[in-house]
Symmetry: C2
């Protein structure tokens, strides 16, 4: 039987009820770290994502992000980014699914929602970058853009660094105000209000040990904060830029920082690095993790997180491992497994009906 595993919302609920959100995040961080350390582009082939983007009915895009574990599985995450979703349709701006395909047979092995997984792995990637690039003592976390991604940024970073206070800003005051309630852990939260943003945002930049930018700023409308005084060893996780023209970080700051891409060709095309040339970039994050020397702790660093397809393969695998262990999810016969593989009609033919009788 050609069986496809479906990991729907219910399956994810079961996994998280069993594992716990904190441990799931910890395992995601550990899995990324391990995979980055041993990354071999001959063994794991990723492609720069491609997609369709459009401006009607609203600005949006659907992209596909394929990865192959050579001799193993292919994962394809299909991800939509529709920034008007939350306000206009009460849906997440990022909605995604990941499919896993067998490279022996071509069968679809599993399909999982990746809306939750994308948020988790994006947070986990920032945690790996933060652990590599930020000083060990980082009590103050600044966050610009308080939507869904902000929650997993804060959650993931709190698993690798002791955070004492989060200073958060969002262009939408309601979203900023609900940030603390949405956080899955207790921490002091200070909200930068729109009314005092001109004073408080520079103050946040000056105070922060770590800064995460994760906004839905429109292409050509950035940066989302003004350059200014900051700590010498500030580490920034630049999460929002993933589209030509979409930039969150001031160019003057980018130009004096060590910029660490998640996946260089993609960052040069659509990340914060899109105004830079390859020779202006630092090593990719996985190269730094493999080197294991934390060589940029102590200087201004920017992790250019465009979202790497390898992260999605790992996230889907983590979910699937737990789902398998506790038998969560559904199995359906989505694809045929006929007795005669040369008969495309065998399984479609209604039982007991010779087809010649139909015509």
């Amino acid at each position: 039987m050609a069986i496809t595993r479906l990991l729907d919302i219910g399956a994810m609920q079961q996994v998280i009820a069993d594992v716990g959100l904190d441990r799931f995040m910890d395992e995601m961080i550990a899995k990324l770290t391990y995979a980055f350390r041993r990354f071999d582009p001959e063994a794991t082939v990723t492609k720069v994502r491609e997609g369709f983007s459009y401006e009607k009915p609203d600005l949006g895009l659907v992209e596909w992000m394929p990865t192959m574990d050579v001799g193993g599985r292919i994962s394809i995450k299909t991800v939509g980014y529709h920034p008007t979703n939350p306000m206009q349709r009460n849906l997440p701006s990022v909605m995604a699914t990941t499919s896993l395909h067998d490279t022996t047979t071509g069968q679809l092995l599993a399909l999982a929602d990746s809306t939750f997984l994308t948020a988790v792995r994006t947070g986990a990637a920032s945690a790996v970058a933060t652990d590599e690039l930020a000083p060990l003592s980082t009590p103050i976390l600044g966050i610009i853009g308080a939507g869904a991604q902000a929650i997993t940024q804060a959650h993931a970073i709190s698993r690798v660094r002791a955070i004492e206070k989060i200073i958060v800003f969002d262009a939408d005051e309601d979203v900023a105000a609900s940030f603390e309630r949405r956080l899955p852990f207790a921490v002091e939260v200070e909200v930068v209000t729109a009314a005092r943003v001109h004073k408080e945002l520079p103050a946040m930049l000056g105070e922060a040990d770590i800064l995460c930018t994760c906004t839905s700023v429109d292409p050509e409308a950035g940066p989302v904060f003004a350059d200014g005084r900051h700590k010498e060893a500030l580490h920034i996780n630049a999460v929002g830029a993933d589209f030509p023209g979409k930039l969150e970080i001031p160019r003057t700051l980018i130009n004096r920082a060590v910029v660490v891409p998640d996946y260089q060709p993609q960052c040069l095309a659509e990340g914060e690095s899109q105004t830079l040339r390859a020779e202006q970039l630092g090593p990719d994050l996985h190269q730094l993790i493999a080197a294991g020397r934390h060589q940029y702790r102590g200087v201004l660093t920017v992790f250019d997180s465009t979202g790497w397809a390898l992260e999605d393969l790992l996230a889907a695998e983590l979910l699937l491992e737990h789902a398998d262990r506790i038998s969560a999810g559904h199995e359906i016969e989505l694809q045929p497994s006929p007795r005669d593989p040369f008969d495309p009609y065998e399984q479609i033919r209604p039982a007991g009906h010779g087809l010649t009788q139909e015509s």
Copy 2:
């Protein structure tokens, strides 16, 4: 609720039990003809397929074929081609799924098996090409490669032309011998035996009004028949070539034929046209259908069918229309629709458990 429709084998059985295989094929042919006639590349954006190919554990590939109806839906067919599947694993060599995505929200609307649909739409495309390019009287159909695709080639062509006899050859005698039993309609079938292939294959070429090549020949191992005497108005549906180096038709024959691509950039990259330059090709099939003049009936023609992503969108839509009408398929909550779209954990959080209790 973010609901995804799943069209599995059972759903397709229900649709075919209701519609009948002949009518389903007729509707597929009509839908392709209509879409080709009004094709507007501004309104329907297709991409050349991309994928991963490999030689271990066996020769194979997984590709994705995206299409966008601007302002409507995006379909992505993910298709595996693993020619050792039938003999080694009793599975079809081509296994595929198609996903439909909403361009307003990015949600996954539906996922359907496309193993059956790929065979049907590939047959239907050859029927459209045959109707456009072949004379009206074509009693003899030759088929080289008697696997799953051969069945839908024969079936589809039988819906647009009165076929009196099929002459079939396969390198595997058992596959050739079972061809007639697998056909969904009654027709005289003559099998070219391996023992007499050197005599009978040239005779088939001489006798055929239409020839379909749909083999799994290895790259660089073609052509699958020798050039020779044939009818002046022979029409060939060249279905197998869809990979660099994979060619079924002798170059001398290709060079004197009017070659009609399904989708020119893809045919030049991986179809029978890969040894030709763009200026040596005839118009794309959809351009000929739009012109409506049957201008190449009566001369040697080759339809270079690599499989166009638009055909997959139309096939998935046809299936979905029928499934909707008779309420076939399953609905699952694969993707989240939280009350708060800015909370990535809301729906994953076990009911009744505050997350702070977990940590």
